[in-house]
Symmetry: C2
Subunit: 324 residues, 2 copies
């Protein structure tokens, strides 16, 4: 039997990334299209389908050559029903994503949320590297989380598993979080949270390099790490405090999950050891010794491609012809 193809689709608020892969996971081509959010995103799936069918034509493929498509969406999903409850960046509310897209393409389509598929991508082809129990955190505007257990995505009863960004790390007087709670990990360990802490620390330390930078330009996580690399103690203390909270949250989660690999993604992960070294040190305070000694930390390797690769993984493992 000839090898079939897989499609991986990663829907974002600005653009949709799409990848065509062989069933063994080799990327044949990747491209992206703009996300048309008119009328609550009613054109998005048709746009995706047309774009995919054009590529099929270019490659001389038909639906019969494709095992299925995986699609990742930011928001609350119902994996079994292939529905998205609410995707704030796109406008979909209780929207049957998989049935619409599979009607267009005439191939099986499987849905999951974008953080879970980024985790699946790193597990399959990135920093996961043969571990079957992997925790993936993406530090960006928020803290996205995905958990791989025994080589499969952990979903829980209402597809909410992996929301480690909303673990409480500051029980009293924590900053408000977008989720409605206060003191969530996301408020202190997302890139956004680190920048907020950096701004506060700069104001309190007018002798710091961070303060001088802040007078010149809006602070970013990159500037924070640059200042720390240049020896600024204020910047260093902000990173250390952020990693204290992240190490505690991840260490606590690891006492429950006992993962072999913890992968840190998002733009901030470009800081590499400057981030992983303090993280590991705080992690070891909170994870039990017999947990910590089996955990390896790594920076994510796939960057923005993690989503389409994870979506292709989903198509490979979950797309079933009988769902058509």
């Amino acid at each position: 039997m000839e090898e079939k193809y897989l499609l991986g689709v990663d829907v974002g608020g600005t653009s949709v990334k799409i990848g065509l892969f062989t069933e063994s996971g080799q990327q044949k081509e990747k491209w992206s299209i703009a996300t048309n959010k008119d009328n609550n995103g009613e054109h998005v799936l048709e746009d995706i389908a047309r774009s995919i069918m054009r590529k099929w034509k270019e490659h001389g493929l038909t639906a019969a050559d494709v095992k299925g498509a995986g699609i990742g969406v930011p928001g609350f999903v119902n994996v079994n029903k292939g529905m998205i409850h609410f995707a704030v960046n796109i406008g979909w509310v209780d929207y049957p994503v998989t049935s619409i897209l599979s009607d267009f393409l005439q191939i099986p389509v499987v849905l999951d949320n974008d953080a879970n598929l980024a985790a699946a991508g790193e597990y399959w082809q990135g920093a996961g590297n043969d571990a079957v129990d992997v925790l993936v955190l993406t530090l960006g505007t928020g803290v996205g989380g995905g958990v791989i257990v025994n080589g499969d995505i952990l979903h829980g009863v209402s597809d909410m598993a992996g929301e480690i960004g909303h673990v409480t790390v500051i029980p009293e007087n924590g900053a408000p979080c977008n989720c409605g709670k206060t003191g969530c990990l996301e408020t202190v360990s997302s890139a956004t949270g680190m920048v907020r802490m950096a701004e506060e620390a700069a104001e309190k330390n007018p002798d710091s390099m961070l303060y001088i930078k802040k007078q010149q330009t809006p602070l970013t996580a990159e500037i924070l790490f640059e200042c720390a690399a240049a020896g600024d103690q204020t910047a260093d203390a902000v990173i250390d405090l952020s990693m204290h909270y992240l190490g505690m949250a991840v260490g606590n989660a690891a006492n429950v999950l006992n993962p072999q690999k913890i992968v840190i993604g998002g733009g901030v992960s470009a800081a590499g050891e400057r981030l992983l070294t303090p993280l590991r040190s705080h992690y070891n305070v909170h994870a039990l010794p017999k947990v910590a000694e089996h955990t390896a930390f790594a920076a994510a390797e796939l960057g923005n491609d993690a989503g389409i690769i994870g979506a292709a993984w989903l198509a490979k493992h979950k797309a079933a012809a009988d769902t058509l």
Copy 2:
């Protein structure tokens, strides 16, 4: 094909509980024998085997009638190898439990730790009640934890998953824990931890009922709950603080696991709603709304039998004839 039998064995530091079950889970008989800890527990498995073979004789059974035995042991286990690394209460160090017991009995034997099997027992026949994602906590001398994901025990890379008792809930100046860390959940939400907090609160509140009781008799968790039931505010505040920490730890774990059911066991769970009501209320502060709305809390239902029932579940699902 005729239904076979299952054996469930729960090894404790004082006694070994044993149950004989039908393959569908009906208990035919249960009994216990003393744990002989002489020479680092070298007689324990032989004692278990002899006792089981006597019962087989009484029931007219042979090894051929039995699918397998599950055995739960308190301590660090290697599930795949059937080894116990260290069972402090018995004396076993790097001890090949399953191969020794299956040599005696000539049936497949499967090992897990006692907290995981208590969780499996509640999942199978107790408060789990059809949920396939269940978190079980046993509040006793320590806080034992077991996690059921998709109807199976979550182990992690080194069989340490479920150690929610060692999640850090007091990051600064927490009480020392038996594990070597400080501020673990176990220090404030085990029965032992609650008693320690009750003793401290009694000393600070000489007008309290708790203080008066303490002059008469060593405090216990039962006395703490009795005082609260009788309206003692000091006792009530101790329980509320303990449930604050438990609610935070469990809510944080639930944001990662998204369980359908959270089951609380151990002697303390006899307090029922007096424990579950404040726990639920603190849980709802920390669990995301879309997590919390799908979580049901329940008191454990199987008491001391959870371990042998979970061990029988293990035998039913994991015992394979080809391991003999």
